[in-house]
Amino acid sequence: MTVDSFKFLPRLIATFYQMMDREPVHPIPWSPLPCDLEECAFGLITSAGLFQQRHSPPFDLERERQEPTWGDPSYREIPVNIPQDQVGVSHLHLNPQDMLLDINIQLPIRRFQELQQEGRIGRLAKTAYSFMGYQGFPPDTTQWESTFGPQVAQALKADGVDCVLLTPA
């Protein structure tokens, strides 16, 4: 089966993506798997605009409404023991309803805890991270690359993480 990237996109949004066409970065970064999965520590990162209600602020959607070509480049820490009723979603490009019912469709914290319990993976890091994927038009990932990406990478390294599952929204 070949996945059709545009299957679930209305024509206007498909056009939007085609306007942002770009060439891949070369060389593509590569780190070999450092250990057997059963021994690896996993981190989770999504771009779904998740935050922990009452503990961290939502992403800055007000500025995006005022300035549609801008997207909030910051990130939020999500403790992997977050109760579902504390999950917040701030993302103007998605319907948040299903993520508010079950965080695991974008940030699979419970599934990875289950994989840890069954011994399929070594462990899940205690903190997961969420960015908000819309980074303006044309997209500007400068702050992800210079500031926020390295901060999250450093935090994951400090927690002994070997592998990260990235789940774009």
């Binding site: 059709d4 990237s5 679930f8 209305p10 590569w30 490009h93 695991n104 974008q106 994989l115 399929r120």
Partner: protein, 99 residues
């Protein structure tokens, strides 16, 4: 979506044909979510070179029209509203070229 994985150049990816905001599946569908994750772990384990994209066998269980409707926000995002006239013009000129 593999479209972006190819253009950005990711080390390894599992391409999943699911609607936006549902990368691992439907809410409370634990078995579906776990099947996708296990496929992703297989990619992690088996990929030997950068840029490897494996296409998942999973199929979205609702109709295409229903899924397109369901994942979108109630109100179009600010940038889509902002650019819509430009998009419509592009689509019109494409149609003219192909007719």
């Amino acid at each position: 979506m593999p479209y972006w994985a190819e253009r950005i150049g990711v080390p390894r990816a599992l391409a999943v044909e699911f609607p936006f905001g549902h990368t691992l599946g439907q809410p409370q569908n634990v078995f579906q979510q776990m099947r996708v994750i296990r496929e992703a772990l297989d990619v992690l384990k088996s990929a030997r070179s950068p840029g490897k994209i494996v296409h998942s066998r999973e199929k979205w269980p609702t109709s295409q029209a229903e899924a397109i409707q369901a994942w979108q926000p109630e109100k179009p995002s600010p940038i889509i509203e902002h650019l819509a006239p430009r998009f419509r013009e592009m689509l019109r000129s494409r149609r003219k070229k192909t007719s």
